[in-house]
């Protein structure tokens, strides 16, 4: 059986890689790329079959750059998965907490660990490309005044010690990852639809669009707004709702939404991920 190629952003030990393992389970090989947009380019150029990206965190909210890229690229969401994100304070094995002067992480790592970090106001927080690269940096420099906020897997991979465990605010801290592919595909089990739309620039236009969900008894799961470039204070609305694109009621609702919108783009129809235990 031919292995599928799947791209993820970052380096080994990242949460994206963990989400990829969780979603694809077996028969895959991985490709790493430096930036979120390279996932879209890689799929469009057939460098890999699928890509995986974080879209939303249960504590810090939308990863807005990924939302924007979804709208700008002809790539579709084919699945989603939830990953519990547990951050640890990592340092060299010979380092104590008193040695630490500088902490490296992705800004989200800092944000999700804010109350913990407040207990150490003298630490300099230095944003880095991602959590795994921060762990790699601490290992490479062999400087015991440096720490990283990253995953257990990053600690193992780069031979670092867990100085403080589970430092993120929120024990239910979960990231929603999406799997992307080149084509709009859906199966019988696909029960979640993602779209993006822009309303007409008239009073009540957002309400008019959303009314279509209620009138057809369709359950709207989430709405996220993002600015439209060059049109200050106008927005793209990203809406997730329950349904399958084979269902006539769903197709009719989508037609109505298109009529009531100035812009519409289908992002995908896929199987809702299982909720994780809190």
């Amino acid at each position: 059986m031919k292995k599928v190629k799947v791209g993820f952003q970052g380096v080994s030990g990242s949460f994206s890689e963990e989400a990829l393992f969780l979603y694809f389970k077996e028969n895959f090989e991985t490709v790493t790329v430096p930036e979120f947009e390279d996932i879209f380019k890689g799929i469009i150029n057939n460098d890999f079959d699928y890509g995986i990206l974080p879209l939303e965190n249960s504590s810090t909210g939308a990863i807005t750059h990924v939302y924007d890229l979804l709208n700008q690229n002809e790539v579709y969401i084919i699945g989603e998965t939830f990953l519990k994100v547990k951050h640890h304070l990592l340092a060299l094995p010979q380092a104590d907490i008193e040695d630490i002067k500088e902490v490296y992480s992705h800004p989200q790592g800092f944000e999700q660990s804010r109350p913990f970090l407040k207990m150490y106001p003298s630490w300099k927080l230095i944003p880095h490309y991602n959590t795994a690269k921060s762990a790699e940096l601490v290992m490479k420099t062999q400087n015991k005044t440096m720490a990283a906020i990253a995953s257990l897997r990053a600690a193992e991979l780069y031979g670092l010690n867990i100085l403080r465990e589970g430092i993120n605010t929120n024990s239910s801290n979960t990231t929603r990852f999406i799997t992307l592919g080149k084509n709009l595909t859906f199966e019988e089990q696909s029960n979640k639809v993602s779209i993006v739309l822009a309303t007409k620039h008239t009073a009540g236009s957002l309400y008019k669009v959303l009314k279509n969900f209620a009138e057809n008894s369709i359950n709207m799961l989430k709405i996220e707004s993002r600015p439209i470039p060059d049109r200050p204070w106008e927005y793209f609305f990203y809406v997730d709702f329950e349904g399958n694109l084979e269902d006539g009621k769903i197709l009719k609702t989508i037609d109505r939404i298109k009529e009531d919108s100035e812009y519409f783009k289908m992002l995908g129809n896929y199987k809702k991920a299982e909720e994780l235990a809190r």
Copy 2:
């Protein structure tokens, strides 16, 4: 006439300070604080009468931390103002573009100048506290391989040269600032209401809340969603709409919204800022 005291986050030369000058015009003195949350603390502790904070940028969207703080603190929005944000590449007077190796700015400065920065892939982008502090850093270190992305005012204040002018993507790039005070106040001219709510956790609940706007012909201006801590994939919705809290129709609608919501908080009633020419 007694001067009012107004707090802003950052240092002299920041966009927040510019917005403050624009909003208060005269008879004020300013206080600087290091963090967004210190604005809320300062108002609550009577360290200053008002505070000013950025809430939203027309290119990059919501400043989510400020949204979260608005919900967590007993402080009200009493006004808003728009500021055109123009970013420049600043360096020491003796530096040429070929000398630059490192660029300092707030992450928003990088994000808003992304296409320009892509032309110089060898530059190391180093996130710093804010744009003005980045300019200050370049001036203080006197290192001609360092540049900052910051405002014209920061260039003047720290004696830096504008190496490249207007490097942000978007010529219409505007930030919406809000003025905060200790009390919920409104006047005859107040025509914009900001609220935050959480819907009941049942299908169609968001639609049910929003229906109240349409049924009472109230113009909803914006909706922003933010995660509820410890309740993955449930959201606070921040809604702006047109109206005055003296108006019976508005009061009735707010009562209905409260009934249909699990959580409701009034954020303020104030005068809509004039749209800037694009």
